[in-house]
């Protein structure tokens, strides 16, 4: 027994470290923030009869409009259309004072990344869902998770934890871009995708 005691302790420490690293850390690594206001793509699409392009369009100069500015919202929501408090809050907080809504953008790439939606959508004919999940049906906005260390969103970094290894989000880090580019035989220099 005495002989094995050391080994047992060693294994114990080993196990503790592993579980902490693989299960606890991925949770602790991210801080969760809620969006300034809730938003339902589903409602806007079904009830509002809007198309994705109405808000997320590629402009003529090739830039991507991303999330629309508040005046776009004001176009319809100058006065409450529905009955939700969330809408009232939005009107009070943002539309009336004409303040931009500080959305937390899940898929925001680092400042030094240059990503042209025009390329990927117009030329390469990629579906939006290829990188962003099908937001169209989403009824609410999930919490935004920011990596405490690097400061970037979980959607960008991907997810190392075993917990949701099953439906693991691929992430939108450079390696993920490169993987796809290699599959499609796109040769790039650094500055093709960095600015």
């Amino acid at each position: 027994m005495k002989n094995y005691r050391g080994s047992i302790l060693f294994v114990a420490g080993f196990a503790i470290a592993l579980s902490a690293g693989w299960l606890a850390f991925p949770r602790a690594e991210y801080e969760r923030q809620n969006q300034p206001i809730q938003f339902s793509h589903k409602v806007h699409r079904d009830k509002g009869g809007m198309k994705c392009e109405d808000c997320h369009a590629i402009r003529d100069d090739g830039t991507f409009s991303g999330i629309p500015a508040v005046d776009k919202c004001a176009g319809c929501h100058a006065a409450p259309m529905g009955t939700t408090d969330e809408e009232k809050r939005m009107i009070k907080r943002y539309i009336e004072p004409n303040r931009e809504i500080p959305w937390l953008v899940y898929a925001r790439q680092p400042e030094n990344v240059r990503f042209s939606h025009a390329f990927h959508v117009k030329l390469a004919k990629l579906a939006c869902e290829r990188c962003h999940q099908a937001h169209g049906d989403s009824n609410s906005l999930p919490a935004f998770e920011r990596d405490r260390v690097s400061g970037y969103s979980r959607d960008i970094l991907g997810d190392p934890s075993l917990a949701n290894a099953a439906n693991r989000h691929p992430g939108m880090q450079m390696d993920d871009c490169i993987r796809c580019h290699q599959q499609r035989g796109v040769q790039d220099s650094c500055l093709a995708c960095h600015k």
């Binding site: 420490g13 470290a17 690293g21 402009r59 100069d61």
Partner: protein, 686 residues
């Protein structure tokens, strides 16, 4: 069994081993490295829709077209407007970073009143009140003192409003800024000019409309007469390094050659009433004498004269240096006379008469106070002085103005920064900065056509800011707003049905008569456009006197401006460049002043190695320049290209970015004719 030290070590050891098989260390190492991309030291550029907007640059008289690239509403970069009739797609360095000016930290955001040596916040109405009471007081005891507006950027619609306002005010006097580039009734047809004989004009370094000039550079010969080896001198076809202050002598010397050799345009000469007198004057300056005075070999002078008239239309110009101030009136006469000899006045490729954008009713010349130079006003005569755009007054010699002020006086500066003349004011009133003021830009001084462009505001001015017209209205208790007068003027232009509109956005042109309404014209101009009318106003060549009323003064000027002086053996030559004439500059200008040695900067003097040796200073030393009027301390730069016996001193910003040329300019002192471009000086190491 308790945990012994050994056991604990084992446990920790196991933990350590396991630790490296988890994502933790790797995510941390990676994450930290990624964090360095966006750590606190790195600013975030703005995000949003990128738009292109157009306006006109009002930083100098060139009135270049500006294409502004904006993120949402904030301009992030400025560029020229391709094929713009005057600026031809060019902006100068200062213009390129003009969008920084409204954001400068030292921006004046509220009115200030002088208390002793420093300023204290005060309401604008208080300032207006102070002026109003002064006026009332003057009216009551009908004093002979004057109310004056000193306009740094004459020729604007606002200038017209000042002049009309002054007409109504007691002894209202409208003053042109000392170094302001005159809005002459004639433009230069540079595109067709054959030869340009420039007396110190920075032809290639910010003179007239740089775009036009540089574009035409391929076609004209350039003879630069200048003491300093300026950038223009470097690229000129001929450089005549002239002894300081002897320009008139050279002009007459050249005239002498032309007249002797009958190389002048006799027809043109006949229009001069006093040609004989002029010829006689010139006769006193044979090349040899001119050579003695100017230090330029006689042969060179003769060659220059031949060169001057040898290549088609030839013009002689004597523009004021943005830092050094204007040439003396008498020199100007002597130089201008050369244009009579070359017959370039009213001739293609020479000076062409030009019209003016129609004025709205009530702004006829008769209804306005006349334009006057500061020298014309008697000393100690101004009770109330309102300086418009004091920022542009960064390079004035304050003593030139100060001496005109009455014993009790109020000086109000309309300004964006507490720079330049504003530092001497009793009140500083915040004015809209460049890109904030919805105003107009007059025709550039050298364009041989009538021009009118709007400088549409891209940004909102700070709430307190008021433009000059508004302030005067407040003083007078009412009056039309600048915007309205501008609209009226545009309407007048539309009514005149003359000229065409150039659209910045697509470089297209529309004849005014095809523009439906005044409103459309206004819209076109405000969205970025300029009105231009090449149709010269009918103009017969009247008889005129070359030498004006002062042949003897010209003679005196030509005999040398700078008497020898044992105590002050050196010649101090201040100079500057348009881009830096404005006091405050964008921090990006550090590229020119601090991070490269492209511009020596306002804290340096340049000396010839021999001069430096003679006075015991070397490159990098700090030296004291002493004149009869004052002294200033500057860092020495030794340079082969400087004329021996000359101290070159740049007037303008230094590496530190701020423009405080006071000491130098005061040391230069102001001559009787209101110039300070030259002084006798001595030099010693600090």
């Amino acid at each position: 069994m308790g945990l012994g030290r050994r056991d604990l070590l084992k446990l920790v050891g196991g933990g350590a081993a396991g630790f490296f098989l988890t994502p933790v260390p790797w995510r941390l190492i990676d994450g930290v490295a990624i964090r360095t991309e966006s750590w606190p030291g790195v600013p975030d550029p703005p995000r949003g829709e990128v738009r292109t907007r157009y306006t006109t640059c009002t930083l100098c008289p060139a009135a270049c077209g500006v294409r502004a690239r904006c993120v949402v509403d904030q301009p992030v970069s400025l560029a020229g407007v391709a094929s713009h009739p005057a600026s031809a797609g060019v902006l100068c360095p200062a213009g390129l970073c003009g969008h920084h000016l409204p954001l400068l930290p030292n921006r004046l955001r509220q009115a200030l009143a002088r208390k002793g040596d420093n300023f204290q916040p005060v309401g604008i109405d208080a300032v207006a009140g102070a002026v109003a009471t002064a006026l009332a007081d003057m009216r009551q005891n009908g004093s002979a003192e004057r109310v004056a507006v000193l306009d740094a950027r004459p020729g604007r619609t606002a200038s017209l409003m000042y002049r009309r306002w002054l007409r109504a005010a007691p002894n209202g006097t409208y003053l042109l800024a000392p170094s302001a580039e005159a809005t002459a009734p004639m433009g230069i047809d540079i595109a067709r000019t054959g030869t340009v004989l420039s007396f110190g004009a920075p032809v290639l370094d910010g003179w007239g409309t740089p775009g036009r000039v540089l574009e035409a550079r391929k076609t004209f010969r350039l003879i630069q007469v200048e003491t300093r080896q300026s950038r223009t001198a470097l690229l000129a076809d001929g450089w005549l390094p002239i002894r300081p202050g002897t320009e008139a002598a050279l002009a007459l010397g050249i005239a002498n050659v032309l007249i002797e050799e009958k190389l002048y345009d006799a027809a043109a000469a006949r229009n001069a009433s006093d040609f004989a007198a002029y010829a006689a004057l010139a006769a006193q300056f044979p090349p040899q004498r001119a050579a003695q005075l100017t230090g330029i070999p006689a042969q060179t002078i003769i060659a220059a004269a031949h060169d001057f008239v040898g290549h088609g239309p030839a013009i002689a110009i004597a523009a004021s240096d943005p830092g050094g101030g204007p040439l003396g009136e008498d020199e100007q006469i002597a130089i201008a006379a050369l244009n009579v000899l070359s017959g370039s006045i009213g001739r293609e490729g020479g000076f062409l008469p030009r019209g003016e954008a129609s004025r709205p009713a009530g702004f006829e010349e008769a209804a306005l106070a006349p334009e006057q130079g500061i020298a014309e006003v008697p000393d100690a005569s101004i009770r109330v002085l309102i300086i418009d755009d004091a920022r542009a007054a960064g390079t004035w010699c304050w003593s030139a103005i100060e001496r005109k002020l009455a014993a009790t006086h109020i000086v109000v500066a309309m300004t964006e920064f507490l720079e330049g003349a504003a530092q001497h004011a009793d009140f500083a009133v915040p004015a809209p900065a460049y890109l904030e003021a919805g105003e107009d830009a007059p025709a550039p001084p050298d364009v041989p056509a009538a021009m009118f462009s709007l400088a549409g505001a891209l940004l909102k001015p700070p709430p307190e800011a008021v433009d000059g017209a508004a302030f005067l209205n407040q003083v007078a208790g009412g009056g039309p707003a600048l915007a309205d007068v501008l609209k009226q003027r545009v309407a007048a232009i539309h009514a005149s049905r003359r000229g065409e509109v150039f659209h910045y956005a697509d470089a297209s042109r529309t004849a005014v008569r095809d523009v439906k309404s005044a409103a459309d014209l206004w819209k076109a101009l405000e969205e970025g456009g300029c009105w231009i009318d090449h149709q010269p106003t009918p103009h017969e060549k009247p008889l005129f006197a070359i030498l004006g009323d002062a042949p003897d003064r010209v003679l005196e000027a030509a005999s040398g401006r700078l008497p020898a002086d044992a105590q002050f053996p050196l010649a101090l030559v201040p100079y500057g460049w348009r881009g830096a004439a404005g006091g405050a500059i964008s921090p990006i200008m550090t590229k020119l002043y601090q991070e490269s040695d492209l511009r020596p900067g306002g804290d340096t003097i340049e000396l010839h190695p021999d001069t430096a040796r003679k006075y015991g200073v070397a490159d990098g030393h700090v030296a004291i320049v002493q004149t009869r009027c004052g002294s200033c301390q500057r860092r020495v730069r030794v340079d082969e290209s400087v004329m021996p016996g000359v101290i070159q001193a740049e007037v303008g910003p230094s590496a530190s970015g701020n423009c405080r040329p006071e000491a130098l300019l005061n040391a230069c002192g102001v001559a009787g004719d209101g110039t300070w471009r030259l002084a006798r000086a001595s030099l010693r190491r600090a």
